[in-house]
């Protein structure tokens, strides 16, 4: 029982750290900007110009 409790607590802690770690890395430290255009298909040559 104690072993199960320790296991569950450890698992919850790992999940929590993982979740908060991911969120803080993506939301608190970065600003997400985007480039959109035709990256594939017949117009892809222009998408490449934008992506560069």
């Amino acid at each position: 029982m104690l072993k199960n409790l320790i296991g569950s607590t450890a698992l919850a802690a790992v999940l929590a750290i993982g979740a908060f770690g991911t969120v803080s890395a993506a939301k608190a430290e970065d600003l997400t900007v985007a480039v959109a255009g035709p990256m594939t298909g017949e117009y892809a040559a222009f998408g490449e110009q934008l992506k560069r």
Partner: protein
């Protein structure tokens, strides 16, 4: 490269930029999907899209979400005119507009081919049709008479019927509002069928891929585009960095770089990433970019656009001197 350079200098408002790439294939429905995907990912700024037919439907979503959008390439007038009429202020360009390019193209055509037979064609796309309509308007206003006005379906493989029409009408010059892959093929088939008319088009001819489609039939193709920024002092370091990476920053590369630079500078000026605040900062004064000092009017259009002619010769295109 713009994102990398901004991050190397400390990012924006002390935060590093993370870049998302969206592929719309110039398809309006896919553009809307890309826009919705960006919203889910928390994107705060979009440099894009390329085709006017994609930029316009995607802009509805960005505007609704308050995401600032700057297109480096979409020239259709509706892109900024329609949102401005609704009071939307978060939509901008770092390229020109079809109506201004139409003045440049149309008046030149009227002067150069006075008394000759001029045809105007378009591919029915938002970009191609927009440019052809504005060019025709200005061609006629300058005294020209269109000998043949027609459209074609983009991505067709056989343009022989269209070429026959041009031959029958004894056309001396053809202006085409459309994309390079169609124009290259039309020119190839025109030369094969013995049509010697001059071909003139717009900025979508600024891809090296044109020649791979047209082959030597593309010789002499003339197109209008914004005056090149490649030789500006403001672009010197960035152009050198691209070339050191074995990439020639042709076409819309520098206008995309400028779009990202402008957003970053305006966000710093506003002290905020909220679209409306960044938009106000963009309109509040000139911003230095690789393509020079840029300013925007109330609609989000550049206050100054300078056009030039470029001519294809032996597989490469070069800008003619400005008048």
């Amino acid at each position: 490269m713009a994102v990398k350079d901004i991050n190397a200098k400390g990012g924006v408002l002390g935060k590093q930029l993370k870049l998302e790439i969206g592929d719309d294939q110039c398809d309006p429905k896919q553009a809307v999907q890309v826009a919705n995907d960006f919203v889910k990912k928390g994107v705060v700024f979009v440099a894009g899209h390329f085709c006017s037919g994609s930029s316009i439907p995607a802009s509805d979503i960005y505007a609704e979400e308050g995401i600032l959008q700057i297109t480096p390439a979409s020239t259709n007038t509706k892109f900024t005119d329609d949102p401005a009429a609704k009071g939307i202020k978060t939509i901008f360009r770092t390229c020109g507009r079809d109506d201004l390019q139409g003045v440049f193209d149309g008046t030149w055509l009227a002067k150069t081919y006075a008394g000759k037979n001029v045809a105007i064609l378009d591919d029915k796309s938002a970009y191609g049709q927009g440019l052809a309509v504005d060019t025709q308007k200005n061609f006629e206003a300058a005294g020209g008479t269109v000998a043949l006005r027609d459209t074609y379906t983009s991505k067709e493989k056989d343009f022989s019927a269209l070429v026959s029409k041009l031959k029958d009408a004894k056309i001396d010059a053809v202006f085409i509002g459309g994309y390079h892959f169609d124009v290259g093929l039309i020119m190839r088939q025109a030369r094969e069928q013995g049509l010697s008319a001059d071909f003139v088009s717009g900025d979508a001819m600024n891809s090296a891929e044109l020649w791979s489609i047209s082959g030597p039939a593309g010789e002499g193709l003339r197109f209008s585009d914004a005056s090149s920024a490649l030789n500006l002092d403001s672009a010197k370091d960035v152009v050198a960095a691209f070339r050191a990476d074995n990439y020639e920053p042709e076409g819309y590369t520098l206008s995309t770089y400028a779009a990202i630079q402008a957003w970053a500078a305006a966000a710093e000026k506003a002290g905020d990433i909220e679209g409306a605040k960044v938009a106000d900062a963009l309109r509040s004064g000139p911003i230095q970019t690789v393509t020079g000092e840029l300013s925007w009017d109330a609609k989000g259009d550049l206050t100054k656009s300078t056009y030039a002619w470029y001519v294809w010769h032996e597989g490469k295109y070069a800008q003619e001197p400005l008048n």
